[in-house]
Symmetry: C2
C-alpha cells in the first residue's frame, strides 16, 4: 500500500491548508499526505521529474520538505488521537508549526521509487511534540530526521 486513505491534512482547518508542502488548497504544492500505519505515521511521495539533485537522485531539499511536513502532520495525528479523534472523523485537526528540523542524508536517494517517510511521535509538552523520521526508497533507508513541532496559535492566521 502506497496511499494514505485518511490523511490528517484533509482535516486541517481551511486557514491552515495552504502549505506548499502539504496544504490541500495550495494547487502548486506537493500535497504530502500523512496518516497512521499502526502506531507509526507514514507519508508517501513520488518526486516529480524535476526534483533531482543530480540526474538519477532525489533533491535533498525535497527530502527536507517531506521530513518537515511529515513531522508536523505526525504531531497533529498524535494530538488529534490524544483528543479522541482520528483523521476522517469530521473533527478539525490541530495544526503544528515547525520549531526545528534536522535531516541526516545517509546515502543518495534514487529517483524513481515512491518515497516513504515513517514517523514516531513523542509528546514532550502538551503543545510541543517531537517526531523522529526515517525516509525510505524501495525499503532502503536513505535519510533520517527529527522535527520538533509546536501547536500553532490561532493568531498565526492573522497577518
Amino acid at each position: 500500500m502506497t496511499k494514505v486513505v485518511h490523511a490528517i491534512q484533509d482535516d486541517y482547518p481551511d486557514d491552515f491548508a495552504w502549505c506548499y508542502g502539504c496544504g490541500r488548497l495550495n494547487e502548486a504544492g506537493n500535497h504530502f499526505r500523512t496518516g497512521w500505519q499502526g502506531e507509526e505515521t507514514v507519508t508517501y511521495y513520488e518526486p516529480s521529474l524535476d526534483h533531482i539533485a543530480i540526474p538519477g537522485f532525489v533533491y535533498g531539499g525535497l527530502i527536507a520538505s517531506l521530513v518537515d511536513c511529515h513531522g508536523t502532520g505526525s504531531a497533529a495525528l498524535a494530538l488529534h488521537r490524544k483528543n479522541g479523534f482520528e483523521p476522517g472523523s469530521g473533527e478539525a485537526s490541530p495544526r503544528f508549526v515547525t520549531a526545528s528540523l534536522n535531516v541526516n542524508y545517509l546515502k543518495r536517494t534514487p529517483h524513481g521509487p515512491t518515497l516513504k517517510a515513517v514517523g514516531k511521535v513523542e509528546e514532550i509538552h502538551p503543545k510541543k511534540w517531537k517526531v523522529t523520521v526515517e525516509v525510505f526508497a524501495d525499503d532502503v533507508l536513505c535519510a533520517t530526521g527529527e522535527v520538533v513541532g509546536v501547536v500553532a496559535p490561532t493568531s498565526f492566521t492573522n497577518k
Copy 2:
C-alpha cells in the same frame, strides 16, 4: 544590493548543475545563487506566490532548501578560494553534497521581502566543511541553520 554577480553555481560542472534548488540547468528549479560578500557568503531569493506555509508567511521547507543549497554553495566557494580561485574565474568549482542539515525557525518569515541567507564557512576536514547560516527577511533574523557538506565524489554522476 540583492543580486549575486558571480555565483559559485555558475561554475559548477554541467553534470552537477541540475539541482532543483540551485542548478542553473534545472529549468523548474529555484536557481539559488551564492557568492561572497566580504568574508561571508550570501544567497538572495524571492519566494514565489505559492511558497507559503500559511497566507502571508514563507513555507519552512523552502527555507530549509535555501539553507541547504546556500550551505553547499558556501562550502564550494570556500574550497574554491582555498584552491586559489574565485567564481567567474573560469575554473570549474568543487561541488559539495549535504551530509546533514539543521534549521531552527525563530519566527514566522513574512512573505514579500527578498530573503537573504548569510553564511560562515569552517573547514573541519579537507573534504568536509561546516556552514552556519542565518536567514533574514527585511533584516529581521527569521531562521538559523547549519549544513555539513562533503565534497561530492566524481562517481556521484555515474548512475
